[in-house]
Amino acid sequence: MAAAPQVLTSRRWARAPFYFNSAAHLLRIGKEKATNLQELLDAVRSCSDACIFQHTFQTLEEHHFIREGFSNDFSHWAFSACNEVGLAERLAALDVREFTSIAALRERVVHIMESYLERNPRATTRPAMEPFYLMAVDLVVVPTPYVARNLEEFAEGLRNVSIHSIYYHFIDARLRIKLNNNDFSVWLDRDLDMGAAADRINRIDIYTSTLEGVRRNILRTIEGEMART
């Protein structure tokens, strides 16, 4: 019996296409500002979800080119304006990928700050060197011309979209799809049955890599898959 013709992995059609989007954002200046850690804690408890999003998720995009020393605005301020290295380290260890809702993320930030300030009461009202201004972000989704129906087109899209698109699908997606996952991995697994590659991509560390590094890492995985057949 003649063997069925083998379809190259790179050309195998996905069950549904992947539409590359991007996001444009506008910063809104909030009414709250903090001049010490207690004020920041109060602000974190009461500010809008868009504020928490800005200072944790969004800041990763804004500083996507920095590999070390910058994980979120709360941590950075605790370190640079309040000189509270211990608190800064704990806040820096927050990994936004573990959160699929802003409520859960806010709760974790509040918990870290409360427990630190309980143990370090003098840090509570010590004036910071500069205030922390709470901001919120307005995000508008922008489609791109890239659509992938197979791995080859997916790689092509990945190479060409802006870094904001990588951020949108790889990091911002977690809140949208409410999964500890990203759009790329979901598509590879669900529409191309490439669970192993999807897992490898989802494990890429965004805190020790720039977003360009993330793009390169994803591409390496995809190109590796394409080369296998």
Binding site: L26, I29, F57, H63, M135, S162, L175
Partner: protein, 473 residues
């Protein structure tokens, strides 16, 4: 151990070529009021000494270059980014915009509008730029307001308020308000908001100044006008006031294709350095700013002197404002006195049309300094970051927004701190290069005109209800 100088000292020469003697014409700072500044004997080659005494400065403004097209930015920001801008604009096609400010030439706002308005029009978002007019009494009032809003003393009385309002009213009567969006820049034309009720458009107040510590009376006078706008835009969260309208953050921006920021041929940089007597074989520290005490040029010289004990370097202080501003001239005298007879402190009082020369000086620099004691946003810092230079700057005004300490540059709070950080950068070139690289990315991501163009389009979409921001929860 200090390295032995092998070069023979070169005797200082008078401008006429005679060997230096007490009779030589005193050296001078070009463009500055005459001031004797005698260099001590030095090991510099003669041509450097000569050029430092008589830098070649262009005395006539060159013709303005043609404004760039949107496509020209693709090489800088990438095609995908440009596509996003075009996409945002597509949804605004047919919507019209009017921008209003108080001056057509000179000043940062006019400089921004000169670039922004053609780009908007190229994107088929018809944008008109109009300038309000007024008599000397109006401009005296608005200058007083400007200083008062920065915290200065001011005696606001009814007559002043009447002058402000009557000129705003005259302009309001003269102008037509038929567009979909009105962007009013700064306090001078803020009173045009009285036309809002007669229009269908959305009104935006773009405040370019720092309102963190305004004169209470002046702000109380302006605030009711500002609160009639649909949105207000500030350059830093630190510059805002409590307002009952949405406030947005637009960082000031630079144009990467302007003469001050575009790429330059190495040969041109060499020529400029040669014209000014700058030795490119040794490290160059540079601060570009007006001769203004708030920029602390004397502090920069003190820091340089501390650095010089360890590293053989030169300091370039280049700026303007000392020719037509009596205070600037006084500061320049102080700077020259602080520099004394050190030939490696090169002071340049440049005319306003020196954008290309300033660009070249920044590109020739090993470290860029902006040791301000008070600052607005600090666009010279942005320019340094864009040119991929390590920047050492005072932690004031908008500078900490641009410089994330030890990641995109270095923040300092004192002469000693400045000197130490400069020394560190000069002796750790890899770290300096990393700061420069991060700094450029930071500028590209946040402080380029294309980023602001995108912000404008997005704000217009949101205010007109064309786009609805997605929810984050």
């Amino acid at each position: 151990m200090k390295k032995e100088q092998t070069q023979k000292p070169v005797e200082e020469k008078a401008p006429d070529g005679n060997a230096g003697s007490g009779k030589a014409e005193p050296p001078r700072v070009a463009g500055a009021p005459f001031k004797e500044r005698r260099f001590r004997q030095t090991h510099l080659p003669a041509h450097f000494i000569e050029r430092r005494k008589r830098p070649r400065i262009q005395t006539e403004p060159p013709p303005p270059p043609a404004p760039p097209r949107l496509e020209d930015y693709a090489a800088i920001i990438g095609k995908p980014e440009l596509d996003e801008i075009r996409f945002l604009a597509r949804h605004l096609q047919g919507k019209t915009v009017k921008m209003v400010n108080s001056t057509a030439v000179g000043g940062g706002v006019a400089e921004i509008l000169n670039r922004l308005v053609p780009l908007m029009n190229e994107l088929e978002v018809p944008t008109k730029w109009e300038v309000i007019t007024g008599g000397n009494d109006f401009y005296e009032v608005t200058k007083g307001f400007h200083n008062a809003l920065h915290g200065g003393e001011y005696n606001l009385n009814q007559q002043i308020q009447d002058i402000f309002m009557s000129y705003n009213e005259q302009n309001r009567q003269r102008m037509e308000f038929v567009e979909d969006l009105f962007v009013i820049h700064d306090p001078q034309p803020a009173g045009l908001i009285r036309s809002k009720s007669e229009t269908r458009g959305r009104w935006i107040w773009r405040c370019h100044i720092d309102l963190s510590n305004p004169h209470a009376g002046v702000w109380d006078f302006l605030k009711p006008m500002v609160e009639q706008y649909d949105a207000a835009i500030f350059s830093s969260p630190a510059f805002t006031r409590q307002l009952n309208v949405p406030q947005y953050l637009f960082y000031p921006s630079i144009d990467p294709l302007s003469e001050k920021n575009r790429d330059l041929e190495e040969s041109f940089i060499d020529k400029v350095c040669d014209d000014f007597g700058i030795d490119r074989s040794r490290p160059i520290l540079c601060q570009i700013s007006r001769f203004d005490r708030l920029k602390d040029p004397v502090g920069v010289i003190e820091a340089y002197k501390l650095v010089k004990k360890y590293v053989d370097c030169q300091l370039v202080l280049a700026g303007g404002g000392a020719t037509d501003d009596p205070e600037g001239a006084a500061v320049l005298e102080e700077v020259m006195a602080a520099a004394g007879d050190d030939p490696d402190v090169i002071i340049l009082n440049l005319p306003p049309w020196s954008a290309l020369e300033i660009n070249a000086l920044q590109r020739a620099s090993t470290v860029i300094i902006q040791k301000s004691l008070k600052e607005g946003f600090g666009l010279t810092v942005t320019e340094g970051l864009w040119k991929q230079k390590p920047v050492v700057a005072g932690a004031v005004g908008g500078i900490p927004t641009q410089i994330i300490h030890k990641l995109t540059g270095v923040l300092v709070h004192s002469v000693e701190g400045c000197a130490y950080q400069v020394r560190y950068l000069l002796t750790h070139p890899e770290f300096a290069a990393q700061l420069g690289k991060n700094g450029r990315e930071h500028a590209k991501e946040n402080f380029l005109i294309t980023v602001n163009l995108k912000r404008w389009l997005l704000l217009f979409q949101i205010l007109l209800g064309v786009a609805k921001p997605s929810k984050t929860s």
